[in-house]
């Protein structure tokens, strides 16, 4: 019997802190077991720039919420090229800490950051370079922008939780996180 094809996994960090990626690495030596089953497509750990450039991806994992136009493009790219899309971590699940700005008007925030004289050289303007992605009025969780198949909450989710979730998924079971593994903080 042939060994089953390795599942292709891609990851990305949007408006997150990389905490979730660190946690992913935190599954330690089990990462090696995992690599028996999966191979990485685009991730911050690989050089591949475009998700799915080397053919369709089985599982996409995204940390961080959606706070600017670029995040939207990356997220849609993932959705278009991944069979399963997982929202990983507090920020991607409900906006997390970045979303705590949501009750403020973005214009006031930009003004406060760029146009008041705390630290920045006087006369500093809100940057309008076309290369820079524009910021959204509010930070949004991933599932408000694309359809998400699975969620792993936590800030960050523990390595154990990620491991349990992925191994359940790879085994073809609905993932469960029992007491101690599921957490929102």
């Amino acid at each position: 019997m042939n060994a089953p094809r390795k599942l292709k996994v891609a990851t990305a960090s949007l408006a997150g802190c990389f905490g979730c990626h660190m946690s992913f690495l935190d599954i330690d030596e089990r990462l090696l077991d995992l690599l028996e089953l999966i191979e990485f497509d685009r991730t911050p750990l690989t050089d591949i720039k475009h998700v799915g450039a080397n053919g369709p991806v089985d599982i996409g994992i995204i940390e961080g919420g959606v706070c600017n136009a670029e995040n939207v493009h990356v997220l849609r790219d993932f959705r278009a090229n991944c069979k399963i899309l997982i929202s990983l971590g507090a920020c991607s699940v409900n906006g997390g800490l970045p979303a705590q700005r949501n009750h403020l008007d973005l214009r006031d925030i930009l003004k406060a950051v760029y146009s008041t004289d705390t630290g920045l050289a006087s006369g500093t303007q809100v940057p309008n370079d076309a290369e820079l992605p524009l910021t959204l009025n509010m930070v949004h969780p991933l599932h408000e922008v694309v359809k998400i198949d699975y969620f792993i909450p936590g800030c960050p989710p523990s390595g154990d939780a990620i491991w349990k979730f992925l191994t359940d998924l790879l085994a073809g079971q609905t993932p469960h996180l029992g007491h101690g593994l599921i957490h929102y903080d």
Binding site: K49, R76, L106, R107, L110, N128, A130, L134, T135, V145
Partner: protein, 630 residues
């Protein structure tokens, strides 16, 4: 300059500094002072001896109380779907333009605000407005202009053209109830006489009738027998058998110092499209009061209240005048019609813009000066109602019918209608028909016959009993108005082929979200989620995914909502998804998912701040299948 503390004091005095009268205290104070400032709330709280926060909580619950300063004029456009069909939105926009303001905002000079309000019960003569809580039907572009002019010139509403305030009854078909000519007091006299007859045959060795046990006067119990015999069922929606309700109340013990029973007439009539209680209180108010007095006689009540919706403020003075006349005629007050110990009086209480207060236990809370939140049941009002005493709550029409039954007998009444639905039902007909208005039919009339008689053509759908009722399609027009087929509280809204059923339902979902009392999680949050979903579909961003969400929210509300509002809030959606699914589907995207919000609009503030408008400064709302960006 009005002296606020003097106003507050005299209002408090008038109401005996009684906190349970808070609704009336707040309304009367506001009528003089224009709004309820923090200081006013503090003074009223001190006056009635309640915690300040509790008084603020009551004031904050009702749409017609203002805890923020407001203009000299407040124009509220009735926003039922029937008003919309008559063009109220364009008229409101025109008015806002003429007054230089945005809907929902006070004008810059603080003079006037223009906004919408839930159905005002003038659907047969819309579009309607309330100006400082005075109803004005039949708005036109010309009237909008004149009104804007009067407002700009600061002419007091009292000096506006009197014909603007004329409310038509529009009775198109009268039957036994609307056609009833019974002298005031007749039903009571018949009841007392019936008792006297029965007394001849009965031994009298029991406690007084006020204790609700058969007594020297068997009148209450023989009158109750007539009500039971008539088969009368409640006309307010739920259709509970009136005789059984009265009997349960009559048998419930009273408690405490002020032990008594209460009769409450539910004239909240908040269900959009319903206006028959307004007409009954205009054309047959004696019959309604008589029915309440009969109820008091039967159950042994000493006090009655009419809970009149704030939208019908203009009826307060005529009703009070009529009550005064009935007192003079010994039909109210002490020893009614000379019967020793038969003491009963009625008072009209005004609501303040909250549909939920039509729910009987929320109504009672409101009548006690509190937020209109439905109580946990059991216990029910018949045992623990107003001030925790046994209380009968009935609809206006129920009381009017009860008076007729007391006067003419249960068998007589039973001879009208169907075997399971005795008597007649008054329908309030509005929407696409030539002759909107009030139609009284014996139960059992078919929808088709009603449609023919009101002059409805090319009818696509009929919404019966309001948003919380049922929406039916032409193939069901042979169904009948009756408890055993289509029960109704009275609303009958007609939509012809030119109407967009989706927009009808969207209007209803906005209504429920606005009127949810907010007590329980499923309704408080769920009605807003549903409203947002409908808006999303309306904006062209809906998918099958959103329809699934609607079904999930419906099942959550069905299983867990606290009261009828939450239980029925999804009815319009469920009924129309069954019958008019294409009205939804043609708005849906073929994709199975669309963002929850408008992505491109979400970049608006950043575009404004950076002055950018290049391609990258925009986002399409469509999912890009192949993206060049990463």
């Amino acid at each position: 300059m009005i002296d606020a503390s003097q106003v507050i004091n005299s209002v408090l005095e008038r109401h005996g500094r009684d906190g349970t009268r808070l609704m009336q205290i707040l309304r009367e104070t506001q009528e003089s002072l224009n709004w309820l400032s923090p200081e006013t709330i503090t003074a009223i709280a001190a006056g009635v001896g309640w915690p300040r926060a509790k008084v603020e909580g009551t004031a904050g619950f009702y749409s017609f109380f203002h805890t923020q300063p407001r203009g000299k004029y407040r124009v509220l456009w009735s926003d039922n779907i029937t008003d919309r069909m008559l063009g109220n939105m364009d008229l409101m926009q025109a008015m806002c333009k003429q007054l230089w303001l945005e809907p929902g905002h006070l004008s810059e000079d603080g003079l006037v605000s223009v906004e919408t309000t839930s159905c005002t019960g003038l659907c047969d003569q819309g579009p309607a407005v309330l100006v400082n809580y005075r109803a004005i039907p039949r708005m036109t572009a010309e009237r909008v202009e004149q009104m804007a002019e009067l407002i700009r010139k600061e002419i007091p509403v009292a000096d506006w053209p009197a014909e603007w305030f004329v409310i038509e009854d529009n009775i198109r078909r009268a039957d036994i109830l609307l056609g009833c000519v019974m002298a005031p007091g007749e039903a009571l006299k018949v009841s007392l006489a019936r008792g006297a007859e029965a007394a001849v045959e009965m031994a009298s060795n029991e406690r007084s009738w006020r204790e609700a046990v058969h007594s020297a006067d068997p009148g209450p119990s023989v009158t109750l027998d007539e009500i039971k015999k008539s088969g009368l069922r409640g006309r307010g929606g739920a259709g509970f058998t009136t005789g059984l309700k009265w009997e349960a109340c009559r048998n419930a013990p009273t408690t405490g110092e002020n032990a008594t029973r209460y009769v409450i007439c539910n004239a909240d009539e908040g269900e959009p499209g319903t206006f028959k209680d307004r007409v009954l209180l205009t054309r047959q108010p004696d019959l309604v009061f008589e029915g309440m007095t009969v109820a008091a006689y039967v159950i042994g009540a000493s006090k009655g209240y009419v809970y009149l919706r704030g939208e019908y403020r203009y009826l307060l003075e005529p009703l009070n005048a009529l009550l005064a006349r009935r007192r003079e005629q010994s039909l109210l007050g002490k020893n009614i019609l000379g019967r020793a110990g038969f003491d009963f009086d009625i008072e009209v209480h005004l609501g303040a813009g909250a549909y939920i207060c039509g729910e009987e236990s929320a109504l009672i809370e409101s009548l006690e000066g509190k937020r209109g939140v439905p109580r946990n049941r059991p216990p029910y009002p018949v045992t623990h109602g107003f001030l925790n005493q046994p209380t009968v709550v009935n609809n206006v029409e129920t009381f009017a019918a009860a008076a007729m039954i007391a006067g003419r007998g249960g068998d007589w009444y039973r001879s009208f209608g169907t075997a399971k639905s005795a008597g007649t039902k008054i329908l309030s007909i509005s929407g696409d028909c030539e002759r909107p208005g009030i139609y009284e039919y014996p139960f059992g009339v078919s929808v088709r016959q009603v449609l023919e008689e009101c002059g409805a053509k090319n009818t696509q759908a009929v919404q019966i009993s309001g948003p919380s009722g049922i929406c039916i399609a032409p193939k069901e027009f042979d169904r009948r108005i009756a408890f055993e087929d289509i029960p109704t509280a009275g609303a009958f809204m007609v939509f012809d082929q030119s109407r967009d059923i989706f927009e009808v339902v969207r209007n209803f979902m906005h209504f429920f979200a606005h009127e949810s009392c907010g007590f329980c999680t499923p309704c408080r949050v769920g009605t807003t989620l549903l409203k947002n979903l409908m808006d999303k579909i309306a904006a062209g961003h809906g998918t099958q995914y959103d329809l699934k969400e609607i079904h999930q929210l419906n099942s959550v509300l069905q299983i867990s909502a606290h009261c009828g509002l939450g239980h029925t809030a999804c009815n319009p959606l469920v009924h129309t998804l069954e019958r008019f699914r294409p009205a939804y589907e043609r708005r849906l995207k073929s994709l199975d998912f669309e963002p929850a919000f408008d992505l491109d609009a979400a970049l608006s503030q950043a575009r404004q701040m950076t002055g950018r408008d290049d391609a990258d400064a925009h986002l399409s709302n469509e999912l890009e299948t192949v993206s060049e960006k990463a």
